[in-house]
Amino acid sequence: MDILSRGDGPLFVDPSANHARQFFSTKARALVDKVTTVAEAVRDLVHDGDYLAIGGFGCDRIPTAVTHEIVRQRKQNLGFAGHTATHDFQILCAGNLLGRGQTLARVDIAYVVGLEARGLSPHARRVMESGEVVCTEWSNYTLAVRLKAAAMGLPFLPARSLLGTDSFRRSAAQVIACPFTGERLAAIPALYPDVAAIHVHEADRYGNCRLRGTSVADLDLARAARKLIITCERLIPHEEIRQDPTRTVIPFFCVDAVCEVPYGSYPGNMPYEYFSDEEHLRRWLEAEREPETYQRFLDDYLFGVKDFAEYLHRCGGLPRLQQLRQQEFLLHRGR
């Protein structure tokens, strides 16, 4: 195929569809019980050097417990898919520049270091300005297209953005011409993450998942990932899944581990469940300003905490979560 132009950015993961097929041929297909703890799932499925992708939208429907555990278990040298990665990215950055080695080594960037309207993360900026993380540039859609290509079992897909910009030049995309119309297109290489984590509303013990609200890129991510950890607000009986198969959006054969983590998106928003804890997120951003303050903050809320339930407890526990539920349903401002 005639390549008209080519981005300079490194490609961190093999886009070969044939190689991915070889892996997927070994993945279990039977309905087996996959319920486990987050600690075990992270220990068994996330390895040093892996390329990781996280579901949701930075502060919305994120698998917080998995990101905490990755940092707590000192996973090293990870690649990461940073599509509107906000609080999730902030957590993973706690594994860099703070004497715990280097959690993040390679990042595909669409949106990192920011927390949208909340401002920029001082520590994530320190990490990204340190030069210790190798980067390749994308956009939210083209990073989603990379996952869609993988979900479709392809090595690439075309798209009409990135073209003509420095974002293209620092990406690993190429420019091709449509063989039918001659229209110039960006060829976007598939991204098959080694491991992904997605938080959903409901899952059965085999990994059949339901969610409510926007799905962002998660349905493609679930299919693209070689290994997939699901955290869910609620485990539900398998029978419920069979009662309404239209509602299943991730099938069991994509899933390797299922962990019930109530309030699992905290301090992020979980649609129809609880709103984001803006106060905690503000305190987190403030703590980041000074490395020493941040170290103490992380000792209190992450490194020195046994598990996600203890983190919730330190953040105000059920009374605080009740307020956030009231905010989500606009019942009350919850303060």
Partner: protein, 255 residues
């Protein structure tokens, strides 16, 4: 009637949004402008958020493009690809963007300051969905403060395409024909682009602002479309709706 610069900017932005059109917005000013437009002249304006919300009835200002407000009482809560592909099909008329730097062709930088990509002086978030929306929607609106460090001759990093290097450059790059920068709304003026040269030019000055003030606040040679207009001040109705319904907590207009 008194109003601040932010209130004026939001009103200017809102007036550009025609009724019965689609607009992809982010949080903050764009969202406030779209909400105001819906409550004034454009009740049938359809708002979309890139994370998947379609035509929500926004109860309050969202804090994230993906939070649950963005699909509150929406007609559809879908995927990011579904939204972006509606843009790619040509179904979305407007998008609102910002950035750390903008040049005369409306190109935006939201990636970094410096000249070493792998070790930048300042790292910003990156494109997010901006590159996609600016590539795929028909008309790009930018709302930003006006100062020479922001309005630069050359952006440090071209994150998001405006007219690139000038006339025909978008099409030559493969971007969909007929798309491109449309208006820039600042605290000083409303700007557009010259039809032939694709370079930015002043369309109207905000009340009390001089042509020279705008030229001085701009780091590149800026045209003027004659006759230069005066930006209309916000009406009492616009201000009331903006202050009471759109942003009662003054999250945006209090900045």
């Amino acid at each position: 009637m008194n109003y601040n610069a932010m209130e004026l900017m939001i009103c200017c932005a809102a007036r550009l949004l025609e009724n019965g059109r689609t607009v992809a917005v982010g949080t903050g000013v764009p969202c406030a402008a779209a909400m105001l437009a819906q409550r004034t002249h454009a009740p049938d304006l359809v708002i979309l958020f890139e994370a998947g919300g379609v035509a929500p009835q926004l109860p309050t200002m969202p804090i994230s493009v993906g939070d649950s407000r963005t699909f509150h009482r929406a007609v559809m809560a879908t995927s990011m690809a579904d939204i972006m592909e509606a843009c790619q099909r040509g179904m979305i008329d407007y998008t609102f963007l910002g950035g750390a730097q903008i040049d005369a062709y409306g190109n935006l930088n939201s990636t970094l300051i410096g000249n070493d990509y792998q070790k930048p002086k300042v790292r910003f978030p990156g494109s997010g969905g901006a590159n996609d929306l600016a590539s795929l929607c028909w008309r790009i609106l930018v709302v930003t403060n006006h100062d020479p460090r922001r309005f630069v001759e050359k952006v440090d990093f071209l994150t998001t395409p405006g007219y690139l290097t000038g006339p025909g450059a978008r099409e030559a790059a493969g971007l969909p024909p007929g798309t491109g920068p449309y208006r820039v709304i600042t605290d000083l003026a409303v700007l557009g682009y010259h039809e032939q040269s694709c370079r930015m030019e002043i369309l109207s000055l905000h009340p009390g602002v001089t042509r020279e003030q705008v030229l001085k606040a701009t780091g590149f040679a800026l045209g003027v479309r004659e006759p230069l207009e005066l930006t209309s001040s916000p009406t009492a109705t616009e201000l009331r709706i903006l202050r009471e319904e759109v942003d009662p907590h003054r999250y945006i207009i209090g900045r």
